[in-house]
Amino acid sequence: MEYISLFVKSIFVDNMIFAYFLGMCSYLAVSKNVKTATGLGVAVIFVLLVTLPINYLLNKYLLQPGALAWINESYADVDLSFLSYIVFIAVIAAIVQIVEMVVEKFSPALYSSLGIFLPLIAVNCAILGGSLFMQEKEFINVGESAVYALGSGLGWFLAIVALAAIREKMAYSHVPKALKGLGISFITVGLMGIAFMTFMGITL
């Protein structure tokens, strides 16, 4: 039950885009048509789902204050949490690289559809943001962090596909010249965010 609640919450209420503005750069840059948007969305879900549980374990057994106690009692007061940024970003960059190589080897079709997006993802704020929120939320086990990863990835996916669909339609409408392109996209995202706020306050 808690898993379902966490899942729904991370998709709709704590949506990465509308509530926290994470991954905005690639969100605006790659949402010009639905097909590429879907590709990037899937890649984000995938990478989040791989990196978040790994970073969770690293946080739990390496970085947290007192995390090193499993090696030896005398390490119990070591606090490495100031290293977490550098560890998380290194893990993300390395995993994106590995995922890229594995996908290229075993599924060339998937690679050709995801390929160009994978390197972009290493610097997508949504991925590092997921890990940092995971650290802040203090999940009790790996399962929770994986559910959170899947939920927030799906939320990001939904948001980018929806925006891409709206922008495809918007090509036919008369937007003031100075507002065309970037300006109107921002306002659209804002309005979508207001729509998503109806989910606020839902408790499961």
Partner: protein, 212 residues
Amino acid sequence: MWRNQAMSENLKNVLLKPIFKGNPISVLVLGICSSLAVTVQLKGALVMALSVTIVTGLSSFVVSLMRKSIPNRVRIIVQLVVVAMMVILVDQVLKAYAYSVSKSLSVYIGLIITNCIVMGRIEAFALGNKPGLSLLDGLANGFGYGLILVVVAIVREILGSGSIFGFQIIPQAVYNAGYMNNGLMILPPFALILLGCIIWIQRSIQKDLQEE
């Protein structure tokens, strides 16, 4: 003599372009990721602007120092490590001297690492220019970025809570006459709508930026 002039022209360009004509947020669309969530109040926005300016300047400087010895294939990782190191420094300083602000900015300080503006300036400028110039370029871009943050934050704080830096500036008499704070301004979506409006204004003035 004219060479000196060309150099000062170049320097002026580096310093002034990011502030309006090539503003990293409204023109280049870099670094919106983590920026807007901190604009509910001016204080957070200022600290964020300052942190990004320092990180962008210093990492551009360091990468520019090493630009001849970084192998091209692993440069992204090297850059990420440099940037992460700078962000850790900023984070630790904030935690030591401004703990409450650092708590309220929560994950967004850490997210400066993946802020596109930092990597963007390193890739586009620091890898091909001298350290001093790269430092200035990074600082100027951070400043241009901070400017937008501060403008958005001022509007949101005045309309949303009637205050600046937490001091009430809309007098009580106005509230008694029936004026109310606009609660919508505090909500995240309004940061985006305001930014849309800023871009609208800028592009009305600067017609060459308009998209077809």
